[in-house]
């Protein structure tokens, strides 16, 4: 049992921390990046490619960096601290996850280098108007057509879906709407005929798109994983994504915790620093407890994210998400309360971190959803 980073991981952390600090240390810059057409600055994306970040989880022999969930955690924590807006999660973690576990060698050989050099971005089109958090609730259909498929349906709130070069789409090839079997995962060109996207900003300053698939034709090579057996692949990649989100949330919480304490030390009212008031000290102490509990579970999620047995992996990752959601809500709300009016303004970073945490809570399952998974698995502590 050890929680230390290796020398290589420490180097990685130094370089990504420095990168995010340079890019986002001055919070004003974030507004400029968001104003770009894609919602992020292509030059920063190229910078991440140069650092090797976009190759992070891919195998070394395929041109990757060979990093595991801990490396992803390190990168995502930095992203969370800086509230970075690049499509790292959707392209490298989620899209990359589908390629690593669903693509054959030739597809990986063709696409991994393009992700690594920054020329290809991906997005995961999963959510549907009626699905909520159920990954198996898929109405979008993929009808067999010759040796290929024809896709019809609607996907909503696809993170970075408006700028992605390719979309990972879950669709039903067999069975009824909520069957676990009969789901297939496809990699679809974003400019495929019949595919339309309507881009939008998200509440936390990222970009998303609603995607309509109207008789979109794909070849057999578009299938990721096995036909009709896509759900385990989706669950696996989503768990990896949740672990990454947990780390991002910890980064955002750590930053909020720090700027709240700084504020308590410097803000003067009644002739003293407000941090001298015990009512506020205790709330700041409770924030710290919440952050540390979240950090522990983000580490747990990272260590379980690529566990092969889903019966062990899923409840563990869900448990982590429950803790992250709860800590994130508390830390976000308290950071705003303890900093008073200034944190209510868009001019100040704390409010933006609060918003990002609130949206992470709503990504890939809220507290109730994951608590249900934990309680149904009933595997953390056995009955006497």
């Amino acid at each position: 049992m050890d929680f230390d980073l290796t020398d290589e991981q420490r180097l990685l952390k130094d370089s990504i921390d420095r990168f995010v600090d340079d890019a986002y240390g001055d919070f004003e810059k974030r507004r400029r990046y968001q104003a770009e057409p894609a919602g992020y600055d292509p030059r920063l994306w190229a910078g991440l490619a140069e650092l090797g970040m976009l190759a992070l989880p891919f195998a070394e022999e395929e041109g990757g960096f060979g990093g595991g969930p801990v490396e992803t955690m390190i990168a995502m924590e930095a992203i969370g601290r800086g509230l970075a807006v690049e499509p790292f999660l959707s392209t490298v973690v989620l899209g990359g996850g589908f390629l690593r576990f669903g693509a054959d060698a030739s597809m990986r050989a063709a696409l991994v280098p393009r992700i690594a050099d920054g020329s290809l971005t991906l997005a995961f089109a999963q959510l549907e108007p009626a699905s909520r958090y159920a990954l198996h609730d898929v109405s979008t259909t993929a009808r067999r057509d010759g040796d290929g498929f024809v896709l019809d349906g609607r996907k909503v709130a696809v993170l970075h879906g408006d700028s992605a070069g390719k979309l990972v789409v879950s669709a039903r090839t067999a069975g009824a709407r909520r069957d676990r079997d009969g789901i297939t995962v496809f990699l679809v060109d974003a400019d495929a005929p019949g595919l339309t996207r309507r881009g939008m900003p998200t509440q936390d300053g990222l970009r998303a798109a609603d995607v309509t698939l109207d008789a979109v034709r794909v070849g057999p090579e578009a299938v990721l994983g096995k036909v009709d057996q896509g759900l385990p692949l989706i669950e696996k990649v989503v768990d990896i994504g949740i672990a990454a989100l947990c780390a991002e949330a910890v980064g955002a919480m750590e930053d909020l915790q720090r700027n709240t304490v700084d504020y308590l030390k410097t803000r003067q009212q009644f002739g003293v620093a407000i941090g001298s008031f015990q009512a506020l000290q205790h709330r700041a102490a409770d924030m710290l407890v919440a952050v540390e509990q979240a950090r522990s579970m983000a580490m747990y999620a990272a260590m379980m994210a690529e566990e092969a047995d889903p019966a062990l992996r899923r409840p563990a990752v869900s448990a982590a998400k429950v803790q992250i959601n709860q800590s994130g809500r508390k830390v976000g709300q308290e950071a705003v309360q303890l900093q008073g009016g200034i944190a209510m303004t868009l001019e100040y970073k704390a409010g933006h971190s609060f918003k990002r945490l609130a949206m992470i809570e709503k990504s890939f399952g809220d507290t109730d959803h994951h608590l249900r998974i934990v309680s149904e698995a009933d595997s953390l502590i056995e009955a006497e």
């Binding site: 049992m1 050890d2 929680f3 230390d4 980073l5 991981q9 801990v70 304490v261 308590l264 030390k265 941090g275 001298s276 015990q278 506020l280 000290q281 205790h282 700041a284 102490a285 409770d286 710290l288 407890v289 540390e292 509990q293 979240a294 522990s296 579970m297 580490m299 747990y300 990272a302 260590m303 448990a319 429950v322 803790q323 109730d368 608590l371 249900r372 934990v374 309680s375 009933d378 953390l380 502590i381 056995e382 009955a383 006497e384």
Partner: protein, 394 residues
């Protein structure tokens, strides 16, 4: 970064599991599991079995019967002990006075007290708190005056846990009334049979006799019973309190209670089936399990970090463990209370009533009693003060 135990650590854990479950009498473990008070004999029996196998004082220096264990092994030991519902070896002996004597006592004191303390031939109690000195411990007033080569002690100690069984008491006493609060305190070992000592039982809200008041009326204490230097007692007390706080999270105990709650919920009938069919209840259990898992990892992070720290210095993270650990201990007793439901009401211990059949008659007292864990060991408010000052610099 790796959360898993090594194969050696797993073997170590499995051996402890086997040992606890085969060597400690099942009846004693059942009482612990149901949250009942133990008799003096039961505590002594269990403690001596541990000591006979060198397991009562693993935290002591090796020369005095301690184990050369890694922080991880220590952690596993405490967890497994609690998980198996083995009574903790007497805390006052093992985590409090023993280490203080080993670190600051004279050679004579070590020889005289340590082996007997390890084997619970001497039962110690802790005389720190007073009616006027709770969280502000340094304001204590019990005084010891040097007369004819002896200390003469007068005053009152409060909350003395299991003082009714004790042979000796270790006390903080004021030896210099002129000095600044913390500077005039000494650490004194006092024989409970000394003339002038009276013990008055105080029943706690669960009805148990756990704490006492101890009165000192001109009690003569030989000068050689002073530990370390006169007026340095506060330093020894801080060392002791830091030891008290390690392992304070009681994660193994909370796990054991959740395991029991799950069993009871399956046994208790409700709504034509069992209580465990109630999805809301199961989700509540899951929510506590999640927080406990987080705390377990937080605890492991603290344990792992000990490798990089001065082993004698407590980690300030122990305040986080104390707050969250006590909150979760209390949450598990609330859970048990809610599962017992109407069966929580009959008050007859071990009696013949419906509640007793499932061992549920002791649940309400357990819930009442567990309110103490956020009060003692440095109250949770004091822990938040520590975090705010020592961690956050407020």
């Amino acid at each position: 970064m790796d959360l898993r135990f090594t194969p050696e650590e797993i073997a170590f854990r499995d051996e402890l599991r086997r040992f606890f479950r085969t060597e400690i009498p099942a009846e004693i473990r059942r009482k612990v599991s149901e949250g009942r008070h133990l008799s003096k004999d039961e505590i002594v029996t269990s403690h001596r079995i541990l000591n006979a196998h060198g397991l009562a004082t693993p935290n002591w220096p090796v020369a005095w019967g301690g184990k050369d264990w890694s922080p991880v092994q220590r952690y596993i030991f405490t967890e497994e002990l609690q998980r198996a519902a083995v009574p903790l070896p007497l805390q006052f002996n093992v985590y409090m006075v023993g280490p203080v004597i080993a670190a600051f006592g004279s050679e004579e004191q070590k020889r005289r007290f340590l082996p007997a303390t390890a084997n619970l031939d001497i039962w110690w109690c802790q005389g720190f708190s007073e009616p006027g000195a709770g969280s502000d411990l340094a304001s204590l007033k019990t005084r010891a005056e040097k007369r004819d080569g002896k200390y003469v002690v007068s005053g009152q100690k409060a909350w003395t846990t299991l003082g009714q069984h004790a042979d000796w008491i270790f006390c903080l006493v004021r030896t210099d009334r002129e000095a600044k609060k913390q500077r005039g305190i000494s650490f004194l070992l006092i024989d409970m049979k000394s003339p002038g000592i009276t013990v008055r039982p105080v029943l706690t809200i669960d009805g148990g006799h756990e704490v006492n008041e101890v009165f000192f009326d001109e009690v003569e204490v030989p000068a050689e019973n002073l530990v370390g230097e006169e007026n340095k007692g506060w330093d020894y007390a801080k060392f002791l309190l830091a030891n008290e706080r390690t392992g304070i999270a009681r994660i193994g105990m909370s796990k054991q209670r959740i395991a029991r709650a799950k069993r009871l919920a399956r046994e208790v009938q409700a709504g034509g089936g069992s209580l465990w069919d109630d999805v809301d209840l199961r989700r509540r259990v899951a929510a506590i399990e999640v927080e406990l898992k987080a705390l377990e990892i937080t605890q492991m992070r603290v344990v792992a970090a000990q490798r990089h720290r001065d082993a004698d210095k407590p980690d300030p993270a122990s305040s986080i463990l104390k707050i969250k650990g006590s909150e979760l201990q209390q949450a598990t007793t609330e859970l048990l209370l809610d599962i017992a439901g109407p069966y929580a009401q009959p008050a007859q211990e071990d009696g013949r009533n419906a509640a007793a059949e499932h061992g549920m008659d002791a649940i309400a007292p357990l819930y009442f009693n567990a309110r103490k864990v956020s009060i003692y060991g440095g109250s949770n408010e004091i822990q938040r003060n520590i975090i705010a000052k020592a961690f956050l610099g407020l």
